[in-house]
């Protein structure tokens, strides 16, 4: 890739941009054919793929806001990569549109005749009804896009050397944004994932999805850094020390995710109330049991015992294998949340799961690469940049 080490710019992305765009459009086009083959399957596959990529983009927004709020030094050199993922959010908002047409296929509570015979759904209808669902979805997507754009613009102003100091501004946006982020992600996960089974409820569900989202972004950014290094880009600037810290955060959020997952399971197991236990019952039937166990081991136990040592986090091959495993497991986790509502008797992977994930992923990566090429790939005018490059773990 044409990397200009003086200005920290990628002059070209070596054709990757075109490739991922073609793959993205092809993947989406083939998936849309699936709509005419099996509408229910199409929308469930699309939702799985959409949530997988959306949680990564949201993780990017979270990481950038966290960076500004903590005033961190080590992550300055990585900030633009997080920002370029965050700025996919406005495009992700557009990619939500097909789901508006799938409300009926996805959500049992949207069927008026079903609600008429169901006392519980009647009680929930002031919140769970189609118009309010659409309003909330638009509100979440617009809010995330606006925060992402405001932070991105401020960051580019800093690059351009604006006289106004951008750091306090970005910090103010993040302070307000973090509160809005916590609430919107919680309610979005309730709406889009939890209400797939409208009788079931779990108050920790938002934190569970958030945990997976931050784990996903740390794993993805680590993978992108390793990929850039393989193409002789930012080899000096992103050192073993930065990989070590990315590894620590990946490790920490694998534990956080497991903590949330277990807390949810534990209370439901103890309480033993049928409305709640049904969620795990559905995921313990037939081959779903194997998927559940695969998540327990692949999403937590194996990464925990491997990544616990310092050496593993500083070894790029080992770290690379772990983050690929965790990204795959994050997808399986979303699949495990969505699909048991469609396939009640056992896990079933449809070709639409693959094409939708590849399709949305292609568009996601296209936007990301385009942004990587358009702007310097590190915040060149950040006052803490030099310290960030030199940074060492004690």
């Amino acid at each position: 890739m044409g990397f200009d080490a003086e200005k920290y710019r990628l002059n070209s992305t070596a054709g990757f941009e075109k490739i991922v765009l073609v793959i993205g459009i092809a993947g989406l086009a083939i998936s849309f054919i699936g709509y005419f083959v099996n509408g229910d399957q199409f929308f469930h596959s699309y939702l799985t793929a959409y949530i997988f990529w959306l949680t990564l983009a949201l993780g990017g927004l979270f990481a950038v806001m966290l960076h500004h709020l903590t005033g961190a030094t080590w992550s300055v050199v990585l900030r633009r990569i997080f920002e370029n993922i965050m700025i996919v959010l406005p495009v992700m908002a557009l990619l939500f549109i097909p789901l508006f047409f799938g409300i009926h296929n996805l959500y049992h509570w949207s069927h008026a005749d079903a609600v008429a015979h169901d006392h519980l759904l009647q009680q929930k209808s002031p919140y769970l009804n189609t118009p309010f669902f659409i309003i909330r979805a638009i509100a979440f997507l617009v809010i995330w896009s606006l925060f992402a754009r405001a932070l991105y613009k401020s960051s580019l102003n800093q690059d351009a050397g604006y006289s106004e100091n951008q750091i306090p501004r970005m910090r103010r946006i993040s302070a307000f944004g973090m509160v809005v982020f916590a609430l919107s992600v919680t309610y979005a996960s309730f709406d889009w994932l939890m209400s797939l089974d409208a009788h079931w409820y779990s108050t920790i569900f938002g934190a569970y999805v958030f945990g997976g989202s931050v784990l996903g972004i740390m794993a993805l950014v680590t993978l992108i850094c390793i990929w850039l290094r393989g193409r002789n880009t930012l080899t000096e600037e992103i050192s073993t020390e930065h990989y070590h810290d990315l590894g620590k955060l990946t490790f920490a959020f694998a534990i956080f995710w497991a903590y949330m997952a277990f807390s949810q399971y534990f209370l439901i197991w103890y309480g033993n109330i049928p409305e709640e236990t049904i969620f795990y019952q559905h995921r313990w039937v037939g081959s779903w049991k194997a998927v559940s166990l695969m998540i327990v081991f692949g999403h937590f136990v194996v990464p925990f015992f491997i990544m616990i040592t310092r050496a593993a986090k500083r070894n790029l091959s080992m770290l690379g294998i772990m983050v690929v495993l965790l990204l795959l497991m994050h997808w399986v986790d979303i699949f495990w949340l969505v699909m048991p509502n469609l396939h009640h008797h056992g896990a079933h992977i449809s070709w639409m799961d693959v094409t939708a994930t590849v399709g949305i992923g292609g568009i996601f990566l296209w936007v990301f690469l385009k942004q990587m090429r358009k702007n310097p790939i590190i915040p060149v005018n950040d006052p803490k940049l030099k310290d960030s490059i030199k940074f060492e773990n004690i």
């Binding site: 277990f262 534990f266 197991w269 103890y270 004690i394």
Partner: protein
Amino acid sequence: MADKRKKLFLAEYGNPAELINAAEKMRDAGYKEFDCHSPFPIHGMDQAMGLKRSPLGWIVGLSALLGGLGALWLQWWTSSVDYRLIISGKPFFSFQAYVPVTFGGAVLFGAIAAVVGMLILNRLPRLHHPVFNSDRFSRFSDDGFFVSISSDDPKFDAAELSRLFENTGGKNIEVVEY
């Protein structure tokens, strides 16, 4: 009898760079029982002194593992062997119910091992150290950078050390007896 008393050599340096340089020379000369004293942590000092990574992480990890297994064993033995009770229709051995205490046991033993292990590895508690016999040394917490080496070191040789200190720019070389 003065010869039987242990000695401690002290040399003062002007700045962190000189201290690092002196530490590297000491390391390369093969000294082990020496220490560097500065008012603030200096990056790269561990490598300069040739210190190995502390084994504390492994001590804490193994203790946490043992603590967790111990807590798990205790719960299994009390509720599945010694005093069996059926609680809300669940099996005697319900691993789910044991997870919080197992986790707590691991954290408790890990934390205790961290504190006790840190004290032992740092040779603490220790009420007095011979470096404090030097009046000049009190500046180590203000603007003084010191190297100290004890006569316990197998390579300890007063003449050679004086030469090394002088060559690296050490000033106010002192011998403290204790």
